[in-house]
Amino acid sequence: MRTANRAAKLRLAVLLVLVAVLCIFCLAAPSLLPNDPSQAHLLAAKQPPSTRYPFGTDWLGRCVCSRVLAGASTSVFSALTIVGLTLAVGCAVGIVCGYFGGVVDTVLMRVVDIFLAFPGMVLALAVAGMLGPGLKNAVLALAATGWPQYARLTRSYVLSLRQENFIHAARLNGQSPASILFLHIFPNAVRPVLVTASLSIGGTILNLAGLSFLGLGALPPTAEWGSMLADGRGLMQQAPWLIFFPGAAIFLTSILFNLLGDSVRDVLDPLDSQRKQYK
């Protein structure tokens, strides 16, 4: 039990280091570029990977390697922003609904029901379509459609926590509602929600790439992995490196974040801590 727990913690530490490396890499990417990502060289269009262009060039002769690197921070930090926003809004709404109940709960939960009635991506498409193309709007659209699931989840955790005896004991202590909320409810409810959030980072990167692929994300000439895939797919036969490298980048990043999510769950898992509690 103890040793298994230590292995899970070690795995989480390794993955956190990898994610930190990825983030540092994204920040440092602009100074690592072999070429200017926006500079077109029509004479050098559609060249296969070489020492001059490690990942080849696209139909305008732009360096794919530079564009993948330049797009890293766009994709990764936008995904983190989306998850952060949905987590913050969803948690706040869920806690207010679960703890205070009443009319506020009923109204907010019906809004959540409406959001959850549509498939997430379709709704995000509609919102992004209304806001117009652009990376900031794509982030807003995904955040606006992502929070209801967190609100639902947090609310259900808060509702079950409210029935716990330690919350009753806290009330009998004479603790104020704010003290109960911030000392007992919030930290206990946020742990399982945090697990869900870390699991969804990978999916969010894919969703953002999806929106960009459909032309509702980053605008040219900004490099973004999803839009690079979209632009390159017409030339799949002649220049497969156009979709291979951005695709591999999306694949590796989302795998990394999914593994991180799994690992966070292993360490913070609410069921696991329950098992420990009743051992």
Partner: protein, 255 residues
């Protein structure tokens, strides 16, 4: 009789399951005098725990009043209810579930002291003192609820409950989750604390033997109603209600 610490009069609470109303507590009246230990016995599902939650205002009654130390707390809320809570505390059945799993036992006790307005500088010292008072070393302050045994955890819960020097301790099946030898130790601890601090007890249990050894008066509850009450010896020796008789005869004799 001396001035009662707790007076419950005509308390009722009905739950709605589906569309069918289920009366859980029905016109219950009882009193607990100063420094008195009163028992409340009855089978599972008879409304004991609902009554405990009504008395501690964790739930609100449909009708009736709860008077604690001369103050009607039935309609209190907010800060005035929090003030009234200094005089009443509850001990729960499952000791580990009554502590926040994230916090150490010491932190939980300090939180209780802090909520009662205890000066911050003396909180750590007082926590150690309270733990010693319930027979735990002060090092237990750094333990998580999951790290200690059920009996030790219940001792810590008692330490937290007496932190505000309450007048009344409601024990809802407080020893039912513990094994028999630990049960006796906890009962002895409660008895000692009751004497030193002048506390009254409302001891809720299905265990008639345990309650009758601890309490001077007894209430017998069935189907949400009080069916019999009186001095413990009296109720045990000459039960008037058929249900009480049944309850007494179901206690296994120790030979």
């Amino acid at each position: 009789m001396n001035k009662p610490v707790l007076t419950v009069s005509h308390l009722s609470r009905t739950f709605l399951t589906g569309s069918r109303p289920v009366p859980a507590v029905c016109d219950v009246s009882l009193t607990v005098g100063s420094r008195e230990s009163v028992g409340l016995v009855g089978e599972s599902g008879c409304g004991k725990s609902t009554l405990a939650r009504l008395i501690t205002r964790l739930d609100s009654p449909d009708a009736g009043t709860v008077t604690l130390c001369g103050q009607d707390i039935t309609r209190l809320s907010g800060a005035s209810l929090r003030r009234a809570y200094r005089d009443i505390k509850m001990i729960f059945q499952e000791p580990r579930a009554s502590f926040d799993p994230r916090l150490t036992l010491g932190t939980s006790i300090r939180v209780a002291l802090h909520a009662a307005g205890f000066p911050r500088a003396k909180q750590t010292e007082e926590t150690a003192h309270l733990l010693r008072e319930v027979g735990l070393e002060s090092s237990y302050a750094d333990a998580q609820p999951g790290d200690v045994s059920g009996g030790e955890c219940q001792r810590a819960a008692i330490a937290r409950a007496v932190a505000t020097r309450p007048r009344l301790l409601v024990c809802d099946e407080a020893t039912s989750a513990l094994d028999v030898s630990v049960q006796a130790q906890i009962m002895e601890l409660l008895r000692t604390l009751g004497q030193t601090h002048g506390m009254s007890f409302l001891f809720i249990s299905h265990d008639l033997a345990l309650v009758s050894s601890f309490c001077t008066r007894l209430y017998v509850m069935r189907g949400g109603k009080i069916v019999e009450h009186g001095a413990t010896g009296h109720v045990i020796r000459a039960p008037r209600n058929p249900y009480t008789r049944e309850l007494i005869s179901s206690v296994l004799p120790v030979c």
